[in-house]
């Protein structure tokens, strides 16, 4: 790659890194300056159909905790001690005014803690319209799609009220097309991770993906297209590293430094990091009834995570498939501390990996972790033992 190409990639990555590490949501603030009176909708993990607020001219942003960038003070007085960090840090952001740009906050009831925490938002942030989007939990039911379409319609009503104008089907179709493009680009990015992981490190890929939840998706598309165009020319050599799938990043986010520790010893060739942004695995049709199409895609054309039960997608088998399809040698099955669904799924995953004879390393993390020496040793030992085995 030419020096200017590499510089451009570096500049884009740096821009994304700033977004990821700045808890004041700078891209959102820039958007609001450029769109006076523009309204913002925040949504908590894991999946949210951003097309709905986007079609109304709102800016949807992902609320995904604050890593180690904020000190938790106010939230600790409101939430019991044994609740995961992302719930606390997200609330801390709101209680300290860092999310003062939000008109609407939506949380899907992904877990017991998130559902209960929504009431804390409601009580403490009276000027914010905090809502639960009730994504169906009987996902295999033949009636779930009709239910979900109507639930999307309800949320569309909340959005319409916030912006003061109706959402049209054509507007939704245009938004679906934009997000289809985004999802296609993310799939391309993951193809790079799978096929030529030496061209893009795990931290770089993650930063690029995560920035999408923090900026207008139009801009994210431009940036992804540019990076994807430049990557093949990157001068990077294939290294002798084991190929792993990282599982456990669907909700609370592992610190960048933790990913860095892993990437030093392994290629992360696939993962569930921020799986909500890639929840829909194919294009959503842009003809027909848009909300119905989004609902069907959520149920029938989607990935998997610990917070969805769907007998059509048994999670341990889905993990094995992810490993197979990415030609990984091993898996890192991580879970956030205090995360009930993640920690329970982890055991099922370990059993399945053992039964399939796939080497795996089990890790527990917290978004606010800052010390990784122990983890570095574990990862290195794991990777070395495998390299030795495979040699």
């Amino acid at each position: 790659m030419s020096g200017s190409g590499e510089r451009e990639v570096a500049a884009i990555l740096e821009e994304c890194r700033v977004l990821v590490e700045d808890p004041t949501y700078p891209a959102v603030r820039r958007w609001r300056e450029a769109h006076p009176g523009g309204k913002v909708l925040g949504h908590f993990q894991v999946y949210f159909p951003e097309e709905i607020p986007h079609a109304a001219g709102m800016l949807p942003v992902k609320i995904m905790g604050a890593g180690s960038t904020v000190q938790i003070r106010k939230a600790d007085a409101r939430i019991a001690a044994f609740v995961c960090s992302i719930i606390r840090s997200s609330l801390e952001l709101a209680l300290t005014g860092r999310l003062d740009f939000l008109s609407v906050f939506v949380t899907p009831p992904i877990c017991d803690a998130a559902r209960n925490a929504c009431a804390v938002w409601v009580r403490n942030l009276p000027s914010l319209n905090s809502q639960v989007l009730y994504l169906p939990q009987n996902a295999a039911s033949p009636h779930a799609a009709a239910y979900l379409r109507d639930e999307y319609r309800r949320i569309a009503g909340v959005v319409e009220e916030a912006v003061g104008r109706p959402i049209t089907d054509d507007g939704l179709r245009r938004s679906i097309a934009l997000y289809n493009e985004n999802r296609r680009l993310l799939r391309d990015l993951y193809r790079v991770k799978r096929e030529t992981p030496w061209l893009l490190s795990a931290v770089e890929a993650y930063t690029l993906v995560r920035a999408g939840g923090l900026m207008p998706r139009e801009e994210h598309n431009v940036l992804l297209r540019r990076v994807l165009g430049l990557l093949p020319e990157r001068e990077a050599k294939r290294q002798d590293k084991i190929r792993v799938v990282f599982e456990g990043g669907y909700c609370e986010q592992p610190p960048l430094d933790m990913l860095a520790v892993i990437q030093d010893a392994c290629y992360i060739v696939d993962d569930d990091l921020l799986i909500g942004l890639r929840w829909l695995t194919g294009d959503v049709p842009t003809d027909g009834e848009p909300l119905a199409s989004l609902a069907r895609a959520y149920l029938d054309g989607s990935s998997y995570s610990p917070v969805q039960h769907d007998p059509r997608k048994p999670k341990p088998e889905m993990l094995l498939r992810r490993i197979r399809e990415s030609h990984a040698d091993a898996a890192i099955v991580a879970a956030p501390k205090m995360c009930e669904p993640g920690l329970e799924d982890q055991v099922n995953h370990i059993r399945a990996l053992e039964a399939a004879g796939i080497p795996h390393l089990v890790l527990e993390f917290e978004e606010k972790m800052t010390v990784f020496e122990q983890m570095r040793m574990e990862v290195e030992t794991f990777a070395e033992s495998l390299l030795f085995d495979f040699a």
Binding site: A77, R78, I79, A80, A81, F82, V83, I87, T107, P109, I110, C111, D112, A113, R115, N116, A117, C118, A119, V120, V122, R123, N124, P126, N129, S130, Q131, V132, Y134, P136, Q137, N138, S141, P142, H143, A144, A146, Y147, D150, E151, R154, V307, H309, P311, K315, P316, A335, K337, M338, E340, P341, L343, E344, D345, Q346, V347, N348, I350, R351, E364
Partner: protein, 427 residues
């Protein structure tokens, strides 16, 4: 001399008999390899399963009982040794331990699951059910009750959204009926469902009357001692004539206690419990308050775990399935919003109407469903309603999380502060 009447003692005797009988049924089902349904206390659908003669196991209750019997630790450790984290729900782990120990419970042996019905009243129900799905390959039916919306104006959906929810729940119930037909080889008989629902109506009326009797001063029963018995029977015998009879008897006994002037003990402070107690230290938990004359007259637990019985709860027997769907939704809405997520209003009202002196908020590590926002609710009630509240933390079943001296200090100080308030108010 107290006047003996035939009803005094009947709650204790009859509940013991019913629990023993339930364990015998479990053992018989296990022995005969009879298909058994595993259900959860919030949204158990006992009435529907009774229409198919399916024995019902409530794993939350069996987990709780391991702790009451002082045996939970060995089950928790077995689960942790097999890979389960110290940071997940202890009910799940006590149960996993039970299955790892060949389903041998201190009270008897439980049968394998042939069907699991998990409502989303607690998300952990679903992940817990997936563990049995992996262990036994049994079908898991997630009954989705999308009742909680978290708007400021009201906790549930209304208008078209409510109709949408109702259609969805009713359709799921019809699917579940088909699944039960398949599993048991028995055709669904709507009259049997109607019969069981009629029993639930009667049980609900008595259950509610029993709770309301505790408004009396002094309280005729302890919401945490007898309250647990009431939860157990209302869940295990939901929809059966025996369950109905138990609550009729309980009502009579409690009326007799009032007539005879029998309180639970000398009542100095009337308390309300937000959350659950600690079953691994059940007696001790109660004693720490009772030694100061602190009596729990009500608890949020009796609202959310009591089968969704609201005042005036009644199924419309002319349209059983529709009514079941509607009532499940409304009960879920009520169970989530009033005693859990939006507890502030219900608690404030109960404090007023039941002459409560203070609230104990007990956060349990096991249960994010009930505990996550408790500190916030306490703060809300303290600052806006001047209601004194104590926030303490331990667990449901894990004795390792019970810290006696620390809890005692906190509780003593709280009761002292209640005494101080009373002195200031010149009562």
């Amino acid at each position: 001399m107290t006047t003996k009447t035939p009803t005094i003692g009947s709650i204790r005797n009859e509940s013991r008999r019913l629990l023993e009988q339930w364990w015998r049924e479990m053992a018989a089902a296990d022995h005969a390899g009879r298909p058994t349904a595993y259900v959860f206390v919030m949204g158990s659908l006992g009435e529907l399963l009774r229409a198919f003669d399916l024995p019902v196991n409530c794993p939350e209750i069996t987990s709780l009982q391991t702790a009451v019997r002082g045996a939970s630790l060995q089950y928790l450790q077995a689960a942790e040794d097999s890979g389960y984290s110290p940071d997940i729900c202890g009910y799940v782990k006590a149960d996993v331990g039970l299955h790892l120990k060949d389903r041998q419970h201190p009270n008897g042996r439980i049968p394998k699951p042939a069907l699991v019905i998990a409502t989303n009243m607690c998300n952990t129900y679903v992940t817990w059910a997936e563990i049995w799905e992996q262990m036994y390959g049994c079908p898991v039916f997630v009954l989705d009750l999308p009742a909680w919306r978290g708007t400021r104006a009201g906790a549930g959906a209304d208008g078209e959204a409510l109709r949408n929810d109702r259609r969805y729940v009713e359709a799921q119930l019809r699917d579940l009926i088909a699944l039960c037909e398949d599993l048991t080889g028995t055709a669904f008989d709507i009259d049997r469902l109607r019969e069981a629902m009629a029993q639930v109506n009667r049980m609900a009326a008595s259950y509610h009357a029993v709770l309301a009797l505790n408004q009396h001063r002094p309280a005729p029963f302890s919401a945490i001692r007898e309250g647990i018995t009431f939860q157990g029977i209302s869940n295990l015998y939901r929809g059966s004539p025996e369950g109905t009879r138990f609550f009729e008897l309980a009502r009579e006994e409690i009326q007799d206690r009032i007539r005879l002037g029998m309180g639970t003990l000398e009542e100095k402070y009337r308390l309300l419990l937000a959350g659950t107690t600690c079953y691994a230290a059940l007696k001790r938990f109660a004693e720490m308050f009772e030694q100061w004359g602190g009596v729990f007259v009500h608890s949020t637990y009796m609202v959310f775990a009591g089968g969704g019985f609201a005042p005036g709860f009644a199924y419309d027997l002319a349209r059983p399935i529709e009514s079941l769907a509607e009532t499940l939704l409304l009960s879920a809405w009520r169970g989530w919003s009033m005693p859990m997520f939006y507890a502030q209003d219900w608690l404030a009202e109960t404090v007023r109407e039941w002459s409560v002196d203070g609230i104990c908020f007990h956060g349990v590590k096991s249960c994010r469903t009930t505990s996550t926002g408790l500190p916030d609710v306490r703060e809300w009630l303290r600052t806006r309603c001047d209601i004194p509240g104590l926030f303490i933390q331990s667990d449901l079943v894990d004795p390792r999380l019970w810290s006696d001296a620390q809890l005692k200090n906190r509780i003593d100080a709280f009761i002292e502060s209640l005494a101080g308030r009373r002195a200031t108010a010149g009562r």
